[in-house]
């Protein structure tokens, strides 16, 4: 198969390191794969929005549409032996790691077939067998956890790295600085990926951070600023970071990206930013449209063929939803499973201790 070379949208901006080249190698297959994978993610999130509105999904639900290039670019640079950990905006990371649509939707609807058997919900997807460690609801907490994965990788001499994703809001969390210091002291193969979508809930980055230059916030740790709407720039940066981290320890990648949806379903997403801003990004920087243009300009597919892919994806999503809906709620007995790996046959109680008791497995 032919190799294509593509120029990233903008150069990388670097802190304390020589940035990688803007020229990225790819193949037609990868390019088309990016298109399809991102289209699927986009479609999944839009479907989740509808399911939420029809009350099939409850509670918090944080959608990733707009940020897809980060998930697919990163996956293209690494293997499933590398680890990823992220926050609550985790559906597409899960998909990127090889999770299925059915398990995703079933989880969102709290069904037995969900990737967490319906017990986790939107914020708590995992796929350990492909190196995906969740799905964490507490802002910032995943950063030390991700460095801990890197610790274990190094301890086990596995030659792999961990990618820890966090938002611009999370970037101010103290535990990040604590973990980064240790990662640097101990040369952990930890890559901190700041998905800067420019808002933490309703707070613009500059209102939450004196220095919103997140790629520099590691101070003594090098960093790169990356166009997070350009899957190839993401891929290039992640490849570079993996090599760097295996040799030298931590590095920060700031992904300049954007979320189209509000923060979660209760946020219309339009009180703290202008509609113009949103539509401007959609028109000029949309990650899927960028790849569509690349496919077309390299004559790898026709517009029609791309539309067909989108239709196909839509169908896949619809079918997955239908299948997920078939899945029953978890068995009531699941209330008491997985509290412990080893429950020692201890008695545990439900809300009314006389009515509901269980022996822990």
């Amino acid at each position: 198969q032919t190799t294509l070379t593509i120029e990233t949208s903008v150069p990388f901006t670097a802190h304390k390191i020589e940035p990688p080249s803007r020229t990225v190698e790819t193949t037609p297959k990868e390019l088309l794969g990016f298109f399809k994978d991102m289209a699927k993610m986009r479609r999944m999130e839009i479907a989740a929005d509808s399911l939420y509105k029809s009350k099939l999904i409850r509670g918090f639900c944080h959608l990733y549409d707009g940020q897809e290039a980060v998930a697919v670019g990163m996956e293209a640079a690494i293997t499933k032996k590398d680890c990823i950990i992220t926050a609550y905006r985790d559906h597409c990371i899960y998909l990127g790691r090889g999770g299925t649509l059915v398990e995703a939707f079933a989880e969102l609807m709290g069904r037995k077939a969900g990737c967490s058997k319906g017990k986790g919900g939107s914020m708590h997807f995992y796929k350990k067998d492909s190196g995906f460690y969740g799905g964490h609801g507490i802002v910032g907490a995943q950063v030390p956890l991700g460095c801990g994965l890197a610790f274990a990788q190094k301890y086990s001499k596995d030659g792999t790295v961990s990618f820890t994703m966090y938002g611009d809001g999370a970037a101010n969390q103290g535990q990040l600085f604590e973990a980064l210091n240790m990662a640097a002291l101990w040369d952990l193969p930890a890559i901190l990926v700041c998905e800067n979508n420019h808002y933490g809930m309703g707070t613009a980055e500059w209102r939450a951070a004196k220095s919103p230059a997140y790629y520099k916030r590691g101070d003594y740790v090098p960093g790169l600023k990356v166009d997070g709407m350009d899957a190839f720039a993401v891929k290039q940066a992640c490849k570079f970071a993996k090599e760097y981290a295996l040799q030298n320890g931590p590095i920060i990648l700031e992904m300049d990206t954007y979320r189209y949806h509000g923060h979660s379903m209760s946020d219309p997403g339009s009180t703290y930013r202008t509609r113009d801003e949103i539509s401007g990004v959609r028109q000029e920087r949309d990650p899927i449209e960028r790849v569509r243009k690349l496919v077309l300009s390299h004559d790898l597919a026709t517009e029609k063929e791309l539309k067909d892919i989108e239709k196909e994806v839509r169908k896949e999503v619809d079918e997955a939803i239908a299948q997920a809906k078939e899945s029953p709620m978890p068995e009531p007995s699941e209330l008491f499973t997985n509290v412990y790996v080893k429950g020692f046959g201890v008695e545990a109680f439900g809300a009314d201790r006389k009515e509901v008791k269980a022996v822990l497995p």
């Binding site: 319906g118 309703g202 709620m329 209330l335 509290v339 109680f349």
Partner: protein
């Protein structure tokens, strides 16, 4: 007149800020966003960004800043978007706030309020559903309040803000939108409730039901149904977890001779356990039956709707506990 708990909290904040320039509000999204749950709606406009302070998502930092400002003599109201996130800041709540007046023999008082929604909401999973009443309630130096109705919300929040000591103020997201009748007295800007006093929401003589926050509503519903069955339940709205109103609880049990405790949190070392111990200590001879404890199931909160429902007390639980042996009174038609 009716008022939602949200408006009750909002008006209490508004009035106390207007009464005392030392009172200010800080937390995530309290200002421009008008509060994640809109409790602080309109306050930024009215009091400006100096007094309605949006913070980054750095609980340890801003809680410490709040406590430091209280050392100096201001009266901060620190909002946690939910109390789950207060764990990032709990060292400041306990070690910096609760203990300072004691360690300094009264030099450094800490007039601060930590508030926000506590406990389970709907469908938000294990990390966002914990009840912190028992934890904070165990700590000397803290006062811990948990309003149920709009009257509680107004009266207790105003009391908390005026109090010279650190107060943990546990709201409930699911109650924010609920409306309650309020009297003119409650609506008066001088209205304030005493800290440390429970409220008998409904008098009764056959069984005492203690509850706080959302569970008070369940207790009242259960009492209503019980009354139709000829059982007269006394419902105590604790209002204050610390100090705990042992007197009111014990007086009630001495009258009814039966006790059911209701809470949403984990059972072990919970509020129910403490109430049970308090009654055993002071009114042992009056108890005609074992204390019945209704609490959250002893598991992290599951997401799936059916499991979640099993994990938090339902009013059927309160009901069946109140009639003694399970199955004594099965009235599915009520629910």
């Amino acid at each position: 007149k009716q008022m939602t708990v949200r408006d009750a909290l909002n008006s209490a904040l508004d009035e106390e800020m207007s009464a005392d320039p030392k009172v200010f509000l800080m937390g995530e999204e309290v200002g421009e966003y008008q509060g994640a749950y809109k409790i602080s709606k309109g306050l930024l406009d009215k009091y400006g960004p100096e007094r309605v302070r949006d913070t980054p998502i750095t609980e340890a930092g801003f809680t410490g800043i709040g406590v430091g400002a209280a050392y100096y003599g201001l009266r901060p109201v620190v909002e946690f978007m939910t109390f789950n996130f207060s764990m990032q800041a709990i060292d400041h709540i306990i070690n910096s706030a609760a203990k300072s007046n004691y360690m300094s023999a009264g030099q450094i008082s800490v007039p601060i309020v930590f508030r926000g929604p506590n406990g389970a909401a709907a469908g938000v999973g294990a990390q966002h559903s914990q009840c912190y009443a028992a934890w904070y309630g165990s700590c000397p130096g803290l006062k811990v309040l948990a309003p149920y109705s709009s009257e509680d919300a107004r009266g207790l929040l105003k009391a908390a803000i005026r109090d010279p000591d650190p107060v943990v103020f546990l709201e409930n997201e699911l109650l924010y939108g609920e409306s309650f009748p309020v009297s003119d007295e409650v609506l008066d800007s001088s209205y304030c409730l005493p800290i440390g006093k429970a409220k008998i929401e409904r008098e009764g003589k056959d069984v005492t039901i203690t509850a706080f926050s959302k569970m008070v509503g369940y207790a009242l519903q259960a009492a209503e149904i019980l009354s139709k069955e000829g059982i007269s339940a006394e419902v105590i709205n604790l209002r204050s977890i610390r100090p705990l109103d042992r007197q009111t609880i014990n007086a009630s049990v001495r009258k009814t001779n039966r006790l059911v405790t209701v809470e949403e949190g984990y059972p072990q070392h919970g509020v129910g356990a403490e109430i049970c111990a308090s009654v055993v200590e002071e009114s042992f001879g009056y108890l005609d039956a074992p204390v019945e404890r209704i609490a959250g199931a002893d598991v992290p909160m599951p997401y799936a709707a059916n499991l979640e429902r099993m994990a938090v007390p339902q009013n059927s639980n309160v009901l069946s506990a109140s009639v003694g042996e399970p199955g004594n009174l099965m009235c599915p038609e009520y629910f």
